[in-house]
C-alpha cells in the first residue's frame, strides 16, 4: 500500500517517485506514488471496430463526471501517446479498496484506420493491462436544472451522451431526453439494445427517453430508422419541440459545425464537443499564434520561421545553447500545435518535447515557456 496522508508528506523528500513506482509495479501494476493509472478489468466488442474497455482506476485518478473526457496515455512502439476519450459509463464510489478505488470507468473506442492510439486500444490492449489516465475535462455534464434535452451524436460521439443518459436514468425517473444518433450502418451502432431498453422503460405517454437512429450508408432501413445527413427538415420532423430543448452534440468537427449552424438559434441552448480537431497546417509565412503558457504571452509569428530567433526578436529570451539542435538546452514542451523540424522538414503534431532553435510553428501552438 502506498503511504497515506501525513506519513506520505513526511517521507516524500526521501522518495524518488520513479524508483518507488518501479518497485511498486513489481507488486501490483496499479500501485504508484502519484501517477493516475487504471487497470483494464473487462473488454467487450461494442460494435464493428469498436471496443469498450472497463477500467478500474487507482487512488490517484481524479474524479470523473458523466459527460467529461479523460486523457488516456498508452505506449505504442516505444512512444507514449495521449488521446482524449469520453467515458461511456462512469460509476463513482467512495469506498476504497486495496490498490484502487471501487469506481469504474468504461471507455468506448472506435478504431480509426491508421490511427495509432485507437488501433492500439482496440487491438492490443487486454484485460489486466494498465493505462495511464489524466485529469478529466469538459463542461457537458449533468444539469438538473434543464428539463428537456436533445442529445445528438455521430459515431463514437455517442460515448459522453451515453454516460449522461446512464447517469440520468439511474438517478431519476422523469427524464426527458431525445437522442438523435447518426452512424454509417447498423453494424456501427453502439449500445443499441440498451438504448431501446431505456426507451421502452419510459412507457407510452411519458416523456422518457426517445431514440432516433439515422444511418447514412445502410441500404435498407428498418422501422424507426432514418437516413440522410443533418438537415433542418429532418430535425424538425424528429424533434417537434426543438425550441424547448437544451442540445448536447458530439461527433467529428464537421458534424458538430453543421449542427451548430442548423440548431444554435433554434433551441434553448447549444453545446457541443468535437472529437477531431480540424486540420490546421499553415503555409510557410502565414501568421500563426504562439502561446507561451507560463508567461501567458501570445505572439503572432510567421509559420516556418525558427522559433528561438522569432521569440528573441519579440523580446523573449528563452534558455538556449548551441542554436543548432545538438545541445538540447532549448528543449521545451510543445503542449499543442504542429511544429516542423527545420533540419529535416519533418512535422510533428504529437504533444512532446521540441527544440525551439531548429523548429518552426506550422500551426497555432502552445509552448511550455
Amino acid at each position: 500500500m502506498p503511504a497515506t496522508g501525513a506519513l506520505k508528506r513526511v517521507i516524500a523528500p526521501l522518495i524518488d517517485p520513479v524508483a518507488f513506482d518501479f518497485w511498486a509495479a513489481r507488486v501490483n501494476p496499479l500501485l504508484s506514488w502519484e501517477r493516475p493509472l487504471a487497470r483494464v478489468v473487462a473488454r467487450q466488442v461494442t460494435a464493428r471496430d469498436c471496443v469498450t474497455l472497463v477500467l478500474r482506476p487507482n487512488r490517484h485518478v481524479p474524479p470523473v463526471q458523466a459527460g467529461q473526457h479523460v486523457p488516456v496515455t498508452v505506449e505504442v512502439d516505444g512512444v507514449r501517446l495521449t488521446r482524449s476519450y469520453s467515458p461511456s459509463h462512469v460509476r463513482a464510489s467512495h469506498a476504497r479498496r486495496r490498490g484502487g478505488r471501487k469506481d469504474c470507468l468504461a471507455i468506448t473506442v472506435k478504431r480509426i484506420p491508421g490511427g495509432r492510439v485507437s488501433s492500439h486500444l482496440c487491438q492490443e490492449v487486454r484485460v489486466g493491462d494498465v493505462l495511464e489516465l489524466g485529469e478529466a475535462f469538459g463542461a457537458m455534464t449533468l444539469r438538473p436544472d434543464v428539463p428537456r434535452w436533445l442529445y445528438v451524436a455521430a459515431g463514437s460521439g455517442i460515448t459522453p451522451l451515453m454516460s449522461l443518459l446512464r447517469a440520468q436514468t439511474a438517478a431519476t425517473a422523469g427524464v426527458d431526453v431525445t437522442l438523435l444518433y447518426w452512424a454509417r450502418t447498423r453494424a456501427d451502432l453502439c449500445f443499441l439494445d440498451e438504448l431501446r431498453g431505456l426507451e421502452k422503460a419510459a412507457g407510452s405517454g411519458q416523456p422518457g427517453v426517445r431514440v432516433h437512429i439515422i444511418l447514412t450508408r445502410e441500404a435498407t432501413l428498418l422501422p424507426g430508422e432514418y437516413s440522410g445527413r443533418p438537415s433542418a427538415d429532418l430535425l424538425a420532423q424528429l424533434v417537434p419541440d426543438l425550441a424547448e430543448r437544451q442540445v448536447y452534440a458530439c461527433g467529428t468537427g464537421g458534424f458538430v459545425d453543421s449542427l451548430r449552424t442548423l440548431l444554435a438559434d433554434q433551441v434553448a441552448g447549444f453545446e457541443a464537443e468535437a472529437f477531431t480537431l480540424p486540420e490546421r497546417a499553415a503555409v510557410v509565412g502565414a501568421p500563426v499564434q504562439v502561446t507561451l503558457r507560463r508567461s501567458g504571452r501570445v505572439l503572432d509569428i510567421p509559420a516556418g520561421e525558427a522559433l528561438l530567433p522569432a521569440l528573441e526578436a519579440r523580446g523573449i529570451h528563452p534558455k538556449h545553447g548551441c542554436r543548432m539542435g545538438i545541445c538540447n538546452s532549448c528543449a521545451c514542451d510543445r503542449i499543442s500545435g504542429t511544429s516542423e523540424n527545420l533540419n529535416t522538414g519533418a512535422t510533428q503534431s504529437e504533444p512532446g518535447v521540441v527544440r525551439i532553435c531548429i523548429s518552426a510553428a506550422r500551426s497555432d501552438m502552445t509552448l511550455d515557456l
Binding site: 520513479v18 505506449e75 543548432m324 545538438i326 545541445c327 538540447n328 538546452s329 529535416t344 518535447v353
Partner: protein, 379 residues
C-alpha cells in the same frame, strides 16, 4: 593518366596520415554523408530503443538494491566486496548509459517523463542543470576549442602543447590522480568557476547564490550515501559507509578514465576560437571527429562506458540513442576511409596509456605550438 584525389595538393599535406586538409566541397559532402546516416538511423528508432533504456533503468535498480542489500552484511568480507562492486556498477550504469545519455535528449521522443532530458536528475553530487550547461552546451558545441571548451584540461591540467606551460603544471601527475578520485566533485563545481571569484570578478554573495543548488544536491547525495544507508544498517554503519565511499570512488575512477580516453589520446587535436567563425555543418562534424577518440572492446565495455567508447559517434550524433553508435561506427569509419580522414580508435590500454603519457609529458615545458590560423579546410 593517374587520377589524383581532387583536393589534396601535396603542399597542404600535413605530417600525420589522414590529416590532409580537404576542400570545402569535400567537407560538405562528408557532412552530407553523415547527415544521411543520421536520417537513416533516426527513421529506425523506436520500440527496441525504448525497451533497451527501460532495461538499463531496471539494471540500475536491481544492481543498486542488491549492492546496498549485500552491504548490510558488510562485516563478511565477500558480501562487502560484492556489494561494493554491484553498487559501483549501478552508479556507473546510472551515470553513463542512463543519465548522461538521457540528458542529451536521446530518449525525448519516447515522451516519457522518466527519460526526459530536460528534467532528469542523476546520482552524482553535481546538478543535472549545471551538467546540461557545461557538457551538453559548452563541451558539445565547442568541442576541443581552447578557451571555450572547459573540458580541455578542466582548468587544472595541461594536456596539449598548445596550452601555455606554467610551473604549476609540474604537479599535474598528482593533480590528475586527485581529480580522478574526486571526479564527481570536479564535475559538480565545473560550472561555478571559482576562478572568477578569486579574480575578484564575483562577490562572495554571488558565489553563494550560484552555489546554492549545487550545495543542496551535494548535501542530498552525502546524506544518502554516508548517513541514511549507513544508519539503516544500524551496527554495521561503518562497512556500509565504507562500501558507499569505495563505490563512489570506483565510479569516479572509471568515468574519469573513459572521458579522458575520449578527448585526450595522442592523436586528438585542439582548435583555436577562430575555427567556429562561419563554421559549416560539415566543418562542425569534422571538428567533432578530430577532437574525439574511440575505444575498441566488448559489448560490456560499451555498455559500462555509456557507449562513450564510441566518443566519435557520440560527438557526431549526441542526440541519437547511444546503443546505436556501435552500428553507426561501421559506416562512420567507411565514410572516413572514403575521404582519407583519420579515425582515432584503439584498445582501452593503448588509449589510456596515451592519456597518461600526455599528463606526464605536458607537465614539463615543451616547445610552444601556436594554434593561430589552424583551419579544417584547404582554401
Amino acid at each position: 593518366m593517374t587520377a589524383l584525389p581532387p583536393a589534396m595538393p601535396a603542399s597542404v599535406a600535413l605530417k600525420k596520415p589522414g590529416r590532409e586538409r580537404l576542400s570545402r566541397e569535400q567537407v560538405e559532402q562528408f557532412g552530407a554523408d553523415l547527415d544521411a546516416l543520421r536520417e537513416r538511423t533516426l527513421a529506425d528508432i523506436g520500440e527496441q530503443d525504448a525497451r533497451y533504456i527501460k532495461r538499463i533503468y531496471a539494471a540500475v535498480r536491481y544492481t543498486g538494491a542488491l549492492g546496498r542489500g549485500l552491504l548490510f552484511f558488510g562485516i563478511f568480507p565477500p558480501a562487502w566486496l560484492l556489494g561494493t562492486l554491484l553498487l559501483a556498477i549501478s552508479k556507473i550504469l546510472e551515470n553513463m548509459e542512463l543519465g548522461h545519455n538521457v540528458m542529451h535528449g536521446q530518449y525525448d521522443w519516447m515522451n516519457d517523463p522518466r527519460f526526459d532530458g530536460k528534467t532528469y536528475e542523476w546520482d552524482i553530487v553535481g546538478t543535472s542543470d549545471n551538467w546540461r550547461k557545461t557538457h551538453n552546451y559548452s563541451h558539445h558545441t565547442y568541442t576541443n576549442i581552447k578557451g571555450m571548451d572547459d573540458d580541455v584540461g578542466y582548468g587544472v591540467l595541461r594536456l596539449f602543447p598548445e596550452q601555455r606551460w606554467r610551473p604549476f603544471f609540474l604537479g599535474q601527475p598528482l593533480y590528475a590522480v586527485i581529480f580522478a578520485l574526486l571526479f564527481q566533485w570536479g564535475v559538480a563545481i565545473q560550472d561555478i568557476r571559482l576562478g572568477r571569484y578569486f579574480a575578484g570578478r564575483m562577490t562572495g554573495a554571488e558565489l553563494r547564490e550560484e552555489f546554492r543548488p549545487t550545495g543542496r544536491k551535494m548535501r542530498r547525495q552525502l546524506l544518502k550515501d554516508y548517513v541514511f544507508f549507513p544508519l539503516l544498517a544500524g551496527p554495521f554503519f561503518l562497512p556500509v559507509l565504507l562500501g558507499n565511499l569505495v563505490a563512489n570512488g570506483l565510479r569516479n575512477l572509471w568515468t574519469f578514465m573513459i572521458i579522458f580516453c575520449g578527448h585526450f589520446t595522442a592523436n586528438v587535436e585542439v582548435f583555436p576560437k577562430s575555427i567556429i567563425k562561419n563554421e559549416t555543418r560539415g566543418q562542425w562534424y569534422l571538428r567533432q571527429l578530430r577532437g574525439s577518440s574511440n575505444l575498441t572492446g566488448s559489448k560490456l565495455l560499451h555498455i559500462m562506458s555509456g557507449n562513450l567508447s564510441h566518443q566519435i559517434e557520440h560527438h557526431l550524433f549526441p542526440d541519437i540513442p547511444a546503443r546505436r553508435y556501435a552500428e553507426m561506427s561501421k559506416e562512420v569509419r567507411a565514410i572516413c576511409r572514403r575521404y582519407g580522414i583519420f579515425y582515432n580508435t584503439g584498445s582501452l590500454v593503448s588509449q589510456f596509456g596515451q592519456v597518461i603519457w600526455r599528463i606526464l609529458r605536458y607537465a614539463l615545458p615543451s616547445k610552444p605550438v601556436s594554434l593561430e590560423g589552424k583551419a579544417l579546410v584547404a582554401d
